[in-house]
């Protein structure tokens, strides 16, 4: 009697794919626990998502969930016909051009007069030994020229950010973790640890949803990949009915998993943004944007 032991081609492909996915997850978990370099993290993350979404290019990730949810994409495209963030860009352009108290302008604080540079933030400030986000850099500029700081999650700041993001659209994220600065690497590692750490009453890590369960449904929501989480800010979130920042979204997400949220521009959120942006290097800026 002959026993049929052969797998058909389809089954063996699925099995290999499963093994590869498992390998990738283990590799990522291993790198999370070990001291893989930022570049290794970035490579592994890209490889994982590429295996998961073989039809997506790095560029596609800049549209977040709309890259993987076709129904949501249609609604989003309809809204993009005349998006609600247009006012933010307009106001932002006006604010950006206005003189600061000592007669100087924002253009005097930034490379390339502040045009097309949003993709290079956040940056490690060696002198201050802290991650500087674009929002923080705007306030540093203001302080330097005798202007009061702007409240981080208020219209003026968001409008300037919207304008600066708009001038940077299409430019790939280019965040640097300077090799020679141990503390920069430490800030990056702290951001990474935060991302992988289980938190709150639901005991989820960011990675639980956005890596392990990416693309799956949580109630009616499809879980988005982390790749491309930081390139579309600030955002007009339909839920908020207004523009809002990345850190506001971090806080909201943490509240949703019943974990402790941190303030806007806190060290924790800056480091998290640093980690997320670095690992998303190459994904083009798409801010300001509309999201649900």
């Amino acid at each position: 009697m002959k026993l049929n032991r052969s797998f058909n081609t389809q089954q063996s492909k699925q099995y290999i794919s499963y093994c590869y996915k498992l390998f990738c997850i283990l590799l990522i978990i291993f790198s999370a626990l070990s001291s893989a370099s930022p570049l290794q993290d970035q490579t592994q993350l890209r490889r994982y998502y590429q295996e998961h979404f073989p039809n997506l290019t790095l560029k596609d990730y800049s549209n977040g969930i709309y890259a993987i949810d076709p129904v949501a994409r249609q609604s989003w495209q309809a809204i993009e016909e005349f998006p609600p963030y247009e006012n933010a860009i307009e106001q932002g352009e006006r604010l950006f051009a206005a003189a600061l108290p000592d007669g100087k302008q924002y253009a005097d604080c930034f490379d390339n007069k502040g045009m097309g540079i949003a993709n290079t933030y956040p940056r490690w400030d060696t002198a201050k030994q802290i991650v500087v986000t674009l929002a923080a850099a705007i306030n540093e500029c203001r302080a330097h020229h005798h202007a009061d700081e702007l409240a981080y999650n208020q219209a003026d700041m968001l409008n300037v950010l919207a304008y600066m993001a708009y001038t940077s659209r299409g430019k790939p994220i280019n965040v640097v973790v300077p090799e020679k600065d141990e503390n920069a690497l430490q800030a990056y590692e702290q951001g990474k640890a935060f991302y992988y750490q289980r938190q709150g009453q639901l005991n989820f890590a960011c990675a639980t949803c956005h890596i392990q369960n990416v693309g799956k449904k949580l109630r009616a929501e499809i879980l988005s990949p982390s790749l491309g989480h930081t390139n579309n800010w600030p955002t007009y979130r339909l839920k908020w009915g207004e523009m809002g920042s990345l850190h506001r979204r971090f806080a909201e997400c943490l509240a949703n998993i019943q974990a402790k949220a941190y303030p806007e521009q806190s060290v924790e959120f800056r480091n998290l943004e640093y980690f997320l942006s670095y690992t998303s290097n190459g994904v083009p800026i798409s801010g300001p944007s509309v999201r649900k």
């Binding site: 016909e81 005349f82 609600p84 006012n87």
Partner: protein, 103 residues
Amino acid sequence: MSSIKIRSKRMDGNTQIRTLISHPMEHGRNKDKTTNKLIPMHFIQVLTVRHNGKVVAACNMGAGVSKDPYFAFMLKGGEAGDEIVIDWVDNLGNKDSATHKIS
């Protein structure tokens, strides 16, 4: 600054008129998160579209239209230089108007 933005695009001999308006469109059932009081009704009630001075469309609406409302219309024909005027009136008696030249 006007609350009304207008764009036009020629399409198959017609002209699409798109407008985005800044307006809260409050239905009166939302609560202010800090004071816990109801936010009063505040929404556009009537919007008109004029082409070269002539009313071509008029909309009656309620707060079932989204915040920062968007509307798109399709004008028959339309030539470069034609003037489109959009104006609105809300329940509190506020008004605004904007003019756009088809290019």
